[in-house]
Each structure stands twice: as C-alpha cells, then as structure tokens.
C-alpha cells in the first residue's frame, strides 16, 4: 500500500484555465447578444449560391454566355437577416473559441493528462466542439443565423458546468487511466458537439416552419421567427450535422465497447450509460430513416432529431447522477 500526493500539478496553469472559463462565458454572452441584434434588426439578405444553398432558377452567368438553369425545387427563399453587427458577433465568437482552446490546453497542463476526464471537463470540451461547428457552418454554409440558437445552450451548459460540476484539475480514477480516453471520449465529445448544433438547427427549423405555415394561412409573422431563413435550408444544415456526427457516435460506441472489454471483462453489459448511448444511437438511426420515409420527412424527422439530443443530454446528466453503474463517475 503506497500513497501519492494529489492536487493540481501546476497551480499557475490551473488558475489560468479557471479564469479563462469565466471569461469565455462573458465573451459568448456578448456574442449571443450581438447575434440576437442581427437576428432582430438585420436586413434580410439573399444568401450566395453555394454549399447547401439552392441554385435558383433563371439566368446564371457563366462568364460570357448565358446559362439558363431550370431547377425543380420546393424550396423557399434562402434569405437571412444580416448586418455588420453579425460579423462582429462572429468575430467575438471566434475569440471565445480561441480562449476555449487555450483553456483546454492549460487545463490539460494543470492536470498533466488529457483534459476531458470528468463531467466538468467533458461539458466544456463539448461546448468547444459546438462553437467550432458553428464557426464551420458560418464559413461553409453561411449559417451565421444559427448563432443565437447554438450559443444559448453553450452559455447555459458552461454556466451549469462552472456552477455545479466544477472540480479541481487532478489525477483520474484508475479506470480512466487508459489510452482509450483520448479515443473513446474524444469521439463522444465531437459527436456530442455536432449533435448539439444539429439540435439547435432543428429547433430553429421548427420555429421557421411554424412561421411559414402561419404565413401560408395568411397571418402575419413578426419578430425573429418571421425573419429566419427557409425551413428547408435549416433542415439541411441540421441533417448535415447528423451525417457528420452519427458515424463518429457509432465509432465512439464501438471504441467504448473495446475499452469495456479491456477494463471490465465484457464489451457490452447494458450498464445505464451503455443503454442510453444505444438509445441515442437508435434514435439518430431512426432520424436518418425518417428522412427517407414518406410522411415523416420534415416535422416528424426533426422532432426525432431533437429527441436524439435530449437523450444525449439525459445520458450525460441523469445517468451520471441517477443511476449507479460502472460509468457513474460523477
């Protein structure tokens, strides 16, 4: 029987990391506010044709000759509220993202290990991925309009993390001292972050869809809801994020099974955490199926997507606290 000393290996790193996380919450809140200003007051601007954007019918310039394009699409217009404030919001979000990266690194240095070994670190890393996915979507799909919807859960989760889940950086329990942490846990974090953005886009879709229906029924839709881009476009972004996250989630489950096989002597034991990962996986598989099933595409499929993220969050919070199992390291 021997003893070792615990506690942060590097106090300076630990306090840098703790300060940064508070700063991140402030910065993201500012960005959230600015995004909200853009959503409410930005001018509805046609999005450039490009990735995920419809090529619209009519004449298209192909340098010097006219190319006449005829597309059969049921899509609504691809317009989103935009103004300069939104660009600033994006910049502020980018700054927050960089701070988040530094926070992660300093936390890792402080604990002298991979910085995602407990619930606090996990949720912070997942928010990092979600913000990264938002930045990617803004760059690739011009989806800056998702800013508000992604940053609300990010700020909330970071707040919950700091307020209730915080633990000092330190060594891990033996079960987590394995090279599977960077493999399995990283995969769940990446998938979780992307599912989060997908869920945010799904909620936005449901709002936009309601606005479209109301408008079709002849009512006027005012406020942010009436200024969202077409539901079709939101649906497509949401789908893209699931396409990205679902194989990673699948991989995470398999990697987890291999790890469980090494650590606990069985690769699958229906432990509550495993059950809920499986439930999430099945729900996202159902989502992908629903999009290919008549009558389910659109609202039905989107609700399944939202449900999927609810189960991911349930797995994270409830399973760690409510159930006793090998995975409960709350």
């Amino acid at each position: 029987m021997t003893y070792t000393l615990a506690g942060p290996a590097d106090e300076a790193m630990a306090s840098t990391s703790d300060t940064l996380i508070i700063a991140m919450i402030v910065v993201y809140s500012v960005a959230l506010f600015l995004f909200a200003v853009e959503a409410a007051y930005g001018r509805r601007t046609e999005l450039r044709a490009g990735k995920l954007m419809p090529v619209t019918a009519g004449g298209q310039k192909g340098e010097d000759e006219d190319i006449h394009v005829n597309v059969r699409t049921t899509e609504g217009e691809a317009k989103a509220p935009q103004n300069a404030v939104g660009k600033i919001a994006l910049g502020v979000t980018g700054a927050g993202f960089l701070m988040s990266l530094v926070q992660l690194i300093t936390r890792g240095l402080a604990a002298e290990r991979w910085p995602w070994g407990n619930m606090f670190e996990f949720i912070v890393a997942m928010c990092l991925v979600a913000v990264g996915a938002l930045l990617y979507a803004s760059w690739r799909y011009q989806a800056r309009f998702l800013g508000v919807f992604v940053l609300v859960p990010v700020v909330l989760l970071l707040g919950i993390g700091v307020r209730w889940l915080y633990v000092e950086p330190g060594p891990l329990i033996p079960a987590l001292q394995s090279y599977w942490v960077p493999i399995h846990v990283t995969a769940t974090i990446i998938a979780g972050g992307a599912f989060m953005v997908s869920g945010a886009a799904a909620v936005t879709y449901l709002i936009a869809r309601r606005a479209e229906d109301k408008r079709a029924a002849g009512h006027k839709v005012s406020g942010v809801a009436g200024r969202l881009p077409s539901a079709e476009l939101l649906d497509r972004i949401s789908h893209r994020m699931v396409l990205f996250a679902f194989p990673i989630w699948t991989f995470a489950i398999i990697a987890g099974a291999i790890w469980a096989d090494e650590a606990w002597g069985r690769f699958w034991g229906w432990d509550p955490k495993e059950v809920w990962s499986f439930i999430s996986w099945v729900i996202y598989a159902a989502y992908l199926h629903a999009r290919a099933t008549g009558g389910w595409r659109g609202r039905g499929a989107t609700w399944i997507n939202v449900l999927g993220f609810v189960t991911v969050m349930f797995n994270f919070f409830a399973v760690n606290y409510m159930f006793s199992g090998l995975h409960s390291y709350a």
Binding site: G50, E168, P247, V275, W296
Partner: protein
Amino acid sequence: MSTTTSEASTESGGSSENRPKGLGLTGWLRWAWRILTSMRTALILLFLLAVGAIPGSFLPQNGVSVDEVDQYFRENPDLAPVLDSLYLFDVFSSPWYAAIYLLLFVSLTGCVIPRAMTHVKALRGRPVHTPKNLQRMPYAATFSTDAAPGTVLEQAKKVLKGYRIEHYGDSVSAETGYMREAGNVLFHVALIGLLLALAAGSFFGYRGNMLMVEGEGFANTLPSYDAIYPGHWTDTDRMEPFTLQLDDFEVVFLEDGELRGQADSYSADMTYRESPEAEEKTHELEVNEPLTVDGVQVYLLGHGYAPEFEVRNAEGDVVFDQAVPFLYRDTMSFTSDGVVKVPDTGGEELGFTGVFLPTATEDGQGELVSSFPGPENPVVTMEAYQGDLGMHEPQSVYQLRTQELEQIGESTVMEMGDTWELPDDAGSVTFSGYSEFISLQSNRDGTRPFALGAAVTAVGGLLLTLFVRPRRVWVRAAEREDGRTEVVLAGLGKTEVAANNQEFHELTTTLAGRLRNSEPDDGPNPSDPQESTNTRE
C-alpha cells in the same frame, strides 16, 4: 428529392390500400410481409427498440447486478413481482425485447436482400437511356456554344471524370456513386452479423465471478466460482483447466487535496498456468490490463480487506485460523463488514459478525469511523454468537443466520494482535492481521473477434452510405437553326446529399468554359455552320 427515397416511401405508403380482400392465406402473408419490410415499420421498430431499453436503465437488471435486484425486491415487495412477471429485471433477455429486435432484423433482411439484388443488377448494367425531356429533371441547364455537338460530347465525357458513361445518339448518359448502395447493404448485413455474433457468444460462452485472497489460488472449475453464468450450450464440465494464484496486491491512494482517498492505481501480481502440466507464468493484472489465459479473459473488478482471525475453543485449541474477506460499504472509507463462521469447535458452533475500519478515527460525536481507505490504523469490532449456524442449508458466506443462534457479547475495539476472551468460557478470538483480496471476473466468449469485425464493417458501410453521392448526369448536344449547338446538362441526385444542384451547376460551368477555351484549336470553324454539321456523328 431522391428517387430511392420516394421508391421506399411509395412501397410503405401503398400498403394500406393494397390490403387483401379475401385473398386467402398467401395473400395475407404477402400483405403482412410487405408491411413488415416497409420503411415505416422499420422506423416504428427502431423506436420500440429505444423505448424498450429505457426500463433496462431505470430498474436494476439481473444481468448487471443480482444484488441490486434482490434489494429492489426487499424494498418494493408488492411492485417487484409484478415488474418481474413483465421481465423488467431482465429486459435485454426478455421475450418481448427479443420480439422487437427479431422482427426488426426480419424486416431488415426482407428489406435489404431485394435491394442487394437490384443493386447487383445495376452494377452489371449500363447507365440508363437519356430521357426525352431533360427539362423535367431536378436540375437542367441550357446554353449554346459554337462547338460542334461531337466536340461537346467529347468534352462532356472528360468533364464527367469518374462517372460510368454511355453514349446514346446525340447524348451521353453518366452515372456515379455505385458504392453508396453497396455500402448501405453492407451496413445492414453487418448489423445482422453483429446480432448473430452476440447470440452465439451468449449461447456458448460463460462469465464467472470469483474472489481471491493474497496467497490463495484458484482453479477454473465450476465449484470454484462464487457466481457463474454459463450460456445455454456451454459445457461446464469441460472448462479450460487453468489455475491462478494471487501473490501480492497493491493499491495506491491519493493522500492529499480535494481528491484524498481516491484510488490512483491497482495492481495484482498473478502467477498462472494454462493447464496443470504447463509451465508457470506471471502477469501484472491492472484495471485496463486483463490476463488472457487459454482463451479466457480474467479481469480485476474490485478489492477489499480480509482480516485474519484465530479462534480458540474453550479448551484453548486453535479451531479456526484464516483470512476472511469483508465487503466494503463505500470506497472512500472502506469500512467493511464480514462474518466469521466456526462450525467445528468441538462444542457449540460459533459465529461472529465484524466491522473492519482501515483507518479508525473518532469523529466529532465520539463515534469510531474510518477516515481513509488505506490501512493506517486498522481495527475490528465484533459481535459473537453461539448455537446452530444452520450450515446444512446453502447460505451466503457474508451473512449469519441468527435464527438458531444466541448473541453472547460484543467486543471492544480490537487492534491488530488483540485477543477477545469470549464470555461464558466459549473460547477466544484474536485479530491477528489482515490480507487484501481481489474480486475477479472471468469471461469466455469466442465470438468477440467476429462481433468486432461486424461492427467495423458496419462503420465502413455506414461511411459509404452517408458520404458517397450517387447521381446521374445527362448531356445532350443538338444543332440549332442558327448553326450554334444547344447543350442541355441535366442532373439527378439519387440521395439527398447527392442532390446538390450546386455541383451539377459546377459541371455545367466547367463544360461551358472548356468548350469556349477549346474552340480555336480543336473545334471546327464556328463561322462555317456547314462544316460543323459534317463532324456530327
């Protein structure tokens, strides 16, 4: 939208209208089969699979922890039998859960095999004939060029790199992304393979739990286990004949800071033989380092203390001298409970219940508690019983049957080496030291590699399904009245991801650009309409 998608949906959508009216048994069967293999049914079954799993996480499961199930029965004596009759403590081996996933897999087979056959045909075939009216495609672009139709089609073939191309008169028909469908079939088939591997594993393998005190050995036979869960067809008389011995066990605890008391590492020095004749080998067993012996995996699950007791009878003869494993209440204090049973005293049988505190400390109220999991100040307190232990009936080694026993006294706090003289001249008990024990699990499952193979194949198939974009492109080039060539490029994405008009549009602009650039050298003289007609194939 995609064609595959709409094909799948018409199939399911039509099912209710095509309900058989007095079609006899085959008609009904065919109808049932069509319903079962529809996408809608697959969706519902997937939901049921998810919903059905929920009670498996809320209620304790026999497959995970029998003790917790027993506890649930004790705490909810009225509700538990009802839940049990619904198999809710064995959700994942219950008939109703099996019904869900078996139906799902039948549905899957019925869905995927026809698709696979269609796909094989498509793989052998050529790209379809160019439709008459390309304007009806989801994407169609029209432009005119001075290049001759033949040149246009030649250039189109170059632009459509990676497509399978067929020339039909004044047009080319091209298709790509065949791997998507193959991937989809592969994915679904791999899921069936995974299920089969899991089933085979549970029928032929076994899993067992055992406990070893430092210095003790273990032979892999049925009676050596504390608990064993063999599959239906496992031959438990012929288990792998290995033996194990625990030489030493060491835990490292964190001593400082917020995490004081948390374990930092465990390691168990093991000696083992594959069979009685085989040579002896050693292995350091750690949490993420199982031992593989003769195809069986042996894992470290937990650990605890086994205080050693020496019991003497009234005559002063030693009637018991061994380490007794005590089970801990929690991992932060390692306060542990155990039972010592001494049936052979020469007189009345003796029994003890004991509490072991590895680091005994007085708390604020003067109660003795353990403040650290490591053994910094190990003590034991005991209660002694005399009478009939009831050993003729099977019973747990961790519980004392007190019905036929009479309590004869309580000890004071005993430190190592202390002896307690029992009341009524019943003898004495000495707390002579302690060892550590480990709990182990052994697992024999020969299908693990197949399960892994199936899972990896599934991921591969999934990636193909999700990211390969099957699409068709047609280019038609025809000469117009004014001598210029009218080019129509139409595109059809067969899945949603492939139905990206932007991509077809890029093909159009690339083609238009190439034709413009190639005009001076390989195109015929644009000012002479006659000549361009001649080059037409």
